[in-house]
């Protein structure tokens, strides 16, 4: 089956961020495919390139990236939610004249339409909330 995930919880604040990752791993292990993981609301912080969690806590952005590389899944961050909260790629940093950018490699910023599209083309859409 084709799954997509909506991640609405931030790592280190709400367990939903970690639950989503664990679900994705289980999903792929069973041979299903994941079309897209969409990060929305506070969930966008799960795509930070600058997160440096303690050694006994998982670095979710890095794990998502590795999972995406191994299984060709699409990691999309809601651009409107991200930009207002301070998560930028190089383009947005230029557009808003900010001194840097902090979107983790392997993620891309895009519109909320990518959530609707994911729900349309996937068999199941699962939300992990906060």
């Amino acid at each position: 089956m084709i799954f997509s995930l909506l991640v609405y919880a931030a790592p280190h604040s709400h367990q939903g961020a970690e639950s989503a990752y664990r679900f994705a791993v289980a999903c792929l292990a069973q041979g299903h495919s994941i079309h897209r993981v969409f990060f929305y609301g506070d969930g966008i912080h799960g795509a930070s390139a600058l997160a440096a969690p303690p050694q006994d806590e998982p670095n979710l952005p890095a794990r998502w990236q590795a999972l995406a590389q191994a299984h060709e899944l699409d990691l999309v961050v809601c651009i409107a939610a991200a930009v207002r909260r301070g998560l930028l790629d190089a383009n947005e940093a230029r557009r808003y004249e900010k001194p840097g950018h902090n979107l983790h490699q392997g993620f891309e910023l895009s519109g909320l339409g990518q959530l609707a599209e994911a729900a349309i083309v996937s068999d199941r859409m699962i939300t992990f909330g906060a």
Binding site: L6, Y8, Y40, G41, A80, A81, G111, L112, G113, L115, A116, E117, A119, I120, V121, M125, T127, G129
Partner: protein
């Protein structure tokens, strides 16, 4: 994307205190722009979003009620409210800023079965 799915957006948080209500609304609007049929269901404190006379300028936020009023212009006219959520708050349809349909528990379960994708906020 030739296929079409019936979307239901559930909104159960009050406006302004957190971004849930705004995010639910933006999701519904965007889905409608993608030409998918979208219904909205207001539960619990989500019914407070429908109150008239919201004036959030003093707390530096956009008027959510004004955006809600525009839903029919985006062809989102299937708007449902849990009637016990409304009644237990001492509110009625007259207090709502746009036309909505009241649903009881059985009708809510039925509504869910009639939709393909349910997104809740």
């Amino acid at each position: 994307m030739s296929t079409s799915k019936r979307f239901l957006v559930i909104s159960r948080r009050p406006p302004y205190g957190s971004s849930h209500a705004r995010d639910a609304l933006d999701t519904a609007l965007t889905t409608a722009v993608f030409e998918q049929p979208v219904s909205m269901l207001f539960l619990d404190d989500g019914v407070y979003q429908l109150l008239q006379a919201q004036q959030p300028a003093g707390i530096q936020q956009k008027n959510l009620g004004a955006t809600l009023s525009a839903l029919p212009m985006y062809d989102i006219d299937q708007l449902y409210v849990c009637d016990s959520a409304l009644r237990s708050r001492g509110l009625s349809l007259d207090d709502c800023l746009l036309p909505v349909q009241l649903l009881d528990g059985n009708a809510i379960a039925q509504l869910i079965r009639n939709h393909d994708v349910v997104l809740s906020f």
